[in-house]
Symmetry: C2
Subunit: 200 residues, 2 copies
Amino acid sequence: MTTEELILAAARKVFVQKGMEGSRMQEIADEAGINKALLHYYFRSKEKLFEQIFAEGLKQLLPKVQLSIEKSEGICDFVNFFIEYYLEMIKELPYLPHFVLHEIHRDPSKIVEIIKGQGLPFTRLQSLIDKDVAAGSIKPIQLEHLMVNIVSMVLFPVIAKPIIQAVLFGNNEIKYATFLEERKSVVIPFVLQAIGVKTN
Amino acid sequence: MTTEELILAAARKVFVQKGMEGSRMQEIADEAGINKALLHYYFRSKEKLFEQIFAEGLKQLLPKVQLSIEKSEGICDFVNFFIEYYLEMIKELPYLPHFVLHEIHRDPSKIVEIIKGQGLPFTRLQSLIDKDVAAGSIKPIQLEHLMVNIVSMVLFPVIAKPIIQAVLFGNNEIKYATFLEERKSVVIPFVLQAIGVKTN
DNA sequence: ATCTGGTTTAACCATTTAGTTAAACCATTT
DNA sequence: AAATGGTTTAACTAAATGGTTAAACCAGAT
């Protein structure tokens, strides 16, 4: 592992867990097992180092949408792919959503640049909905609300982990983990039923 | 307005917007129009002042659950009351959810104390569900998943405001505001349909 | 008027923290 | 083996920041 990769890995760990303002360059240096001055040698400033971690994080969060839309033949497919992908991702990177959301909240201007050129294929998704509505296989629903509903139900449970674990599961870590495991088999039917897909 | 209230109002504004780590005592003093030393005269430390704002914030977020459960005769009532209450609250305090979530994430031990003694009436809610399931008016669903689904769809849209506004509405503030206004009339039917309540 | 005691301020202190510098290190080339 | 040049370090600087202190302020009591 090169020094640069070492630094990035350490920065990722610290930044994602504590955020830009909660992180210290010294802590990142310690985590990487190097001198603090080396951080500045490889990445001029804290801001520059942070940008890299943040952009990388945001990019990991978005392409799932694109892929899910492209793979889908109908809205039902999309719901399945999308929820499955996202739940898979947060299992591996549970801190990512809160990190990205918090930093965007701190400086909303950062999205603009990164999202520019991403150009998600919402028109295709819209036509999938239109087709299914016309066929009478789902009830009419606004694309934006459907998207937000799904993303909410997938991401919020990890963003609010501490409070959910405390309020609903008496701070029992295992019960919370089980709960997360169940999400896939709960959220998919929940959404499908909500948009009026006939289930057996 | 007393000096103490002045400080609390300023601290609320700054802390809720920038979080504990992002806030400076000087900024709070400026916001309150007083000397920085006065903050320490009234509230010994940043930590103490913050605790007060945070506890107050968390308490504003929870009682809605209690009230909604107590007022409801069936799960359908609950869904209506709960969603309506929360959407009303975030209209007035849109920064609160992100603030509370972020600070809990930073130091999860804080919940434990505050939630202790809150004792939400989940057993009553469970019996409401059981009754409606037995009567065949709704499909079986786990209380915890239903709760999380609803809270997710209500709170996430404000937590993720910047990203939703950018990705879905081309950063058009008004379109986002309209979207939020529509949530009530979208989310309530969405949930009711999802749990199998017959709608006309 | 002046004494008293809570309130407010300006000036200060100690620590933390991002960032710099100059020297040391070390592999590769000559 | 001496020179070269990228890499790493220890020591340092400047600014920011939470917190303290001693004096000034000021309303109400004496």
